[in-house]
Symmetry: none
DNA sequence: TATGAATGAGGATTCATTCAT
DNA sequence: AATGAATGAATCCTCATTCAT
């Protein structure tokens, strides 16, 4: 029953990631001890190193898994023949609602992820790429559909859109989540579409 | 001659900040030792603590000084009776050209500043407030001038604008500055104004 | 078929020792992980502990086996009625040629063996005793045969002889084996015999 | 008063070395914690690293200082125009009496010094070189004086002599110092001179 | 004011050994 | 007998900060 073993391994892997998410969100990356994560996950300190190369690797893996899941969710809800303006709305909606649902994840991605070492930055930006690319794909499709301006610089625009959403989330977190994040979707998307439309 | 003393004090204060900017930009906040900053500034380790409370205080002070100077520069170039759309252009232009001119500052604000502790974040967002407020003021003025839509949510929009610019700078840095940052001003401002205009 | 089982056990025991010899010679005792020896021997980590008490026990066993084999070889080549001066030559010849043939063994005995813990030292000197004793026996026989001085302090002299040979081997190893070790036999034995002869 | 500062520094340096000698002799290199040395020396753990690069550096420095002092002592007692056979006696006498007087040093040099890492070995053999060279110089002088055989291989012979003495000291230590080490000088030197004499 | 030697808390990681399977 | 995943004790070193001078 190899699947039993692999499954068990996967379970422990995810237990550690879950514990890490909680600890990182609560204390920040640099103030989180590996031993604290181990305790939270109910494993020995050394066990962590059977699943992850080092402390940074935990953060990267966490980020990859979560971002991958976000991209996957997007693909579940949006199809290639959907209207690009609806797709933009869906991206923003998922971005805001998913992070609103999972505050720990929001904290880690917005605040703690930046607290990493120099080398980590390229890893992180690699992990972000599929998401940024996804936004670009929607922009390109919008132009093809004749919905978006054909003179758009898609490489620049994808950054403007991602950066704008990112800042809204950060600000919401820093404010202590005193208002609804998902309530910002409409106005945010409106802002984007006014600029994008042909 | 207290002013002589005060002047001397100010000089050393600035020498330390200048050294810190260089060291932080080169090695990142967490990989910068106070002793390295002291050596770069030509003072003893202990002297640092006569001017700053602790290591974080150096970063905050650096940020405040630099951001204050950026805000000051804006006020030099833009006046209350200027057209709001021109003011938005001026904000973006200054944002991009100032950071393009001072790469060390760009690195510190975009990358290293985020590597700070939990407590630091509120300090940083405090230091950012005057700049964000400045953007908001322009938006309000634009509405009053009838140039911008009156249904704008200025609190949200200022974030969208700041976040978008911020991301363009980050991306430019991460790319290794392989293209001109200031060359992005026109398209970026165009993106903003299409959404803002009445 | 206990002998079949015992044989299999012996085979695995020797496979582990052979692997340990290679790993110890290459990385030194303290830089050799038990898991590395296990991998080299093609067994699981835990299996090591079915054959050896602990890591040190591997080293001691290795030493005993190898030294025992050296003593056995000596007895194959020298007989009680041989001339003692010829026996001294044989001892030195075997000492140098055997270690020259088996560099891994030389490295372990000369360099890594010393890197052991306090408690190990008595074990090691126990394992060395048969060899030192063998030298003493030759000396006693030489006196009886009238070939060696009767005023020799055999307890001291056996140390002088062993220590001298030991140092030649160590120096040869440290030099990177840039010359022939066995070529030193004649001059070394000459040095000994000038002092020993009646 | 720079000499005051330098003196103070030297004093602390020696206090740490003295503490290290005691701790290493008692527990062996690998079982000696840096913190134990610090406590013994009456300084903070971190202070150690103001004087030494790392733990190994303490051992190397200790070795160098002590061996240097032994070489210096030899030069105080022997002069270039002394008879080479007397010089050999002096070498052996100093070797045995100095280590007999300073058992901690004997333990460290004979037993613990070998327990070092691969890289350390070349450092150690470098530190030993002046002493080995000193023996060679005496041999060369003996040949020039016509006292020693002119067909001596001085490079080999210096090893035989050093190795023989070294082993006597090791054996004495392992025996628990149950006999006088310096009492072995006469017979040891006699063994050497019988081989060396023209 | 300025110095810089001294402090000492703090933590990621390794690896010999165990034990459930 | 054999496995190898899990354990968790153990420690060197860094570096922000202090304080005697």
């Amino acid at each position: 029953m190899t699947s039993g073993l692999a499954e068990k391994r996967r379970e422990k892997y995810e237990a550690i990631l879950k514990a890490a998410l909680k600890v990182f969100a609560e204390h920040g990356f640099f103030n989180s001890q590996v031993s604290k994560i181990a305790r939270e996950a109910g494993v020995a300190d050394g066990t962590i190193y059977l699943y992850f190369k080092n402390k940074e690797d935990i953060l990267i893996s966490l980020f990859r898994e979560k971002l991958g899941s976000l991209v996957r969710k997007f693909h579940e809800h949006v199809h290639d023949d959907d209207r690009a303006d609806e797709a933009i709305r869906k991206v923003c909606e998922l971005h805001f609602t998913e992070l609103e649902k999972d505050v720990q994840l929001a904290k880690v991605t917005q605040l703690e992820l930046r607290q990493s070492s120099r080398e980590l930055h390229s890893e992180i930006s690699n992990a972000l790429k599929p998401y940024i690319q996804l936004i670009e794909d929607v922009l390109v499709r919008g132009i093809e559909q004749g919905i978006f301006r054909s003179d758009l610089d898609v490489k620049l625009t994808r950054l403007l859109i991602f950066g704008a959403m990112d800042e809204v989330v950060s600000s919401w977190l820093i404010s202590g989540r005193r208002y609804s994040l998902s309530a910002q979707v409409d106005k945010t998307v409106d802002f984007f579409l006014r600029s994008l439309r042909a």
